[in-house]
Amino acid sequence: MSRNEERIADVSGDALSEVFEVQMGPQHPATHGVLKLNLVLDGETVLSCKPDVGYLHRGIEKLSENLTYSQSMPLTDRLDYMSAIANNTGYCLAVETLLGIEAPLRAKYLRTMICEMSRIASHLLWIATHALDIGAMTVFLYAFRERELILEMFEELCGARLTPSYPRIGGVRQDVTREFMDRLEKFIAEFPSRLEEYETLIDTNRIWLKRTKGIGIIPAEQAIGLGLTGASLRGSGVDYDIRKHRPYDAYPYVDFEVPIGISGDVYDRYRCRMEEFRQSVRIIRQCMEQLPPGPIIADDAPDLVMELKPPRKVMAGSTGPSPLKTALIRLVEDRQAYMEGDVYVSTEVPKGELGFYFVSDGRGMPYRMHIRSPSYIHIGALGVICEGELVADIIANIGSLDVVLGECDR
């Protein structure tokens, strides 16, 4: 009998106990967006926790079936808006795999560098909200101080802070500037000392340890079965990082380590992410040193205004390209631009494994795009993890799984 089951048996055997239901969310300060949890409580013990999602569903998968490959790219910014560039990169890699294009080396390095920056930005938001949920308010603002620096660098790089749409299919949008690199150099030189500030406040703090150690334990086998990925899986001691397992972009050329947890509780997941900060800094530094000269976008990269091949057959009921578009369709005779077939490409975004499954029918639009978003699966697992724990532990668990509802609901 597991610890959780014991607790449930403990309270449900009590004749005096009275069960009552609480709907936590979708407007609740600690549910990170519009997550709703249907809780059944006995006193403060959670008997069952059923997450209810979909409040932010925008139908990105359906939308993308009517947009060209490059047009869908800005939509992926809106998945996990904490680390938009990582999503863009994952999307572009999937389309590149589908079309058989390879980005030039410089673009690969740039993407890797920027992805790691967005990983830092996303993890900063995670530590901020996680600590705030547990009550350490100051960490929140210290983390935002650093996040602001990264967002300003993104603005310098491509003109937008939150939704940069920086990578392009077959490369990146524009080159880095000298000012950008100087700022980045300064940032990564200073960042480790800032990390220590957060750790001074929470890492060894006895209250923090009490709130996180031994809470929300997920054994390794269960974690794999639940489909957890990213730091949430690695906290349970499973060595699965797509950057190592199926390296993409410049990850094979840089040297870094994957932090693995021991006991799989909230504290271990927290430690894993704190280590990932340091590894990201290491990767960025190596990318800056190794950044090769060369073009930043592949020669055979598709134009933004994509040539649409006529569909094999217009599906009954589907809207198809607009009349305006059919007027502009230009046939590409010399090159089979868009292969028919399907690919599944996943990348390691800050939240876990973000996968794109494409089915192409040979047109410039995906026939079917499916997004495997880590947050969706993590929220699905939340109910299993929270059962038998206390109300306050739900908050710690949500924080430690690092979910974002934009990505969950798509």
Partner: protein, 217 residues
């Protein structure tokens, strides 16, 4: 790599609340240091060149109107389909004349695709970021309003309109020939591919490029 825990605190640390006092020391130190926030309306943020803000149509200094040639590339590429163009085609010459050009700013997702594909540097997302209004109608920018937006941008930023090049019109570090368009502005020198920043770890030495001075910034 297995994660390392911090050293467990000893009984002395437990009794004298060492880690809590350390944390309190940090917050006290930070209280005495300077705050990092910006007092917004008085202190303006520094907006970098290429920021994707309010939409505008660049005003042609010669004609006084927009440079748009109604090629429809922006309307086609727009993911949220917020650009509406109507044009009339001259049967003999084949030249298109813009009848109306409108952008629905509330539908726009500010991806910058439109300015990137524009062959004549007409449409632009300016660095203006304050354009709140009380009515939704105010965000339906017609051609006249878009030209006014451009005037406002030039006035506020003090760029020289004849020299200004937006990084989205001509992305840095991209080969000139991949972005063909005869009427496009040429790239400032340090945006050229030869002047790109190269890591020190590579054999090629770091090149020094002068900072691009665009207009009178």
């Amino acid at each position: 790599m297995i994660i390392q825990y911090k050293k467990k605190r000893g009984w002395l640390g437990t009794v004298f609340l060492v880690e809590i006092l350390k944390g309190m020391g940090l917050t006290l130190r930070r209280m005495l240091s300077r705050s990092v926030t910006r007092q917004y309306p008085e202190e303006r943020p520094e907006i970098r060149i290429g920021f994707r803000g309010q939409h505008a149509l660049a005003r042609d200094p010669v004609t006084g109107g927009s440079r748009c040639v109604a090629c429809m590339r922006c309307a086609v590429v727009c993911p949220s389909r917020c650009i509406h163009i109507e044009y009339k085609k001259d049967e003999q010459t084949g030249v298109r004349e813009v009848q109306s050009y409108a952008i629905e700013a509330l539908r726009c997702i500010y991806c910058g695709y439109c300015e990137e594909v524009c062959p004549v540097n007409a449409v632009i997302l300016t660095e203006v970021y304050e354009y709140a209004a009380y009515k939704r109608d105010a965000f339906y920018f017609d051609e006249e309003q878009l030209l006014k937006n451009w005037d406002r941008f030039i006035e506020e930023s003090r760029y020289d309109p004849t020299k200004y090049v937006n990084p989205f019109w001509r992305p840095r570090g991209i080969d000139e020939r991949t972005l063909a368009g005869p009427r496009r502005r040429s790239v400032p020198d340090d945006w050229k591919m030869e002047n790109q920043w190269v890591g020190t770890g590579m054999t090629k030495s770091r090149k020094t490029g002068a900072r691009c001075d665009v207009g009178g910034h």
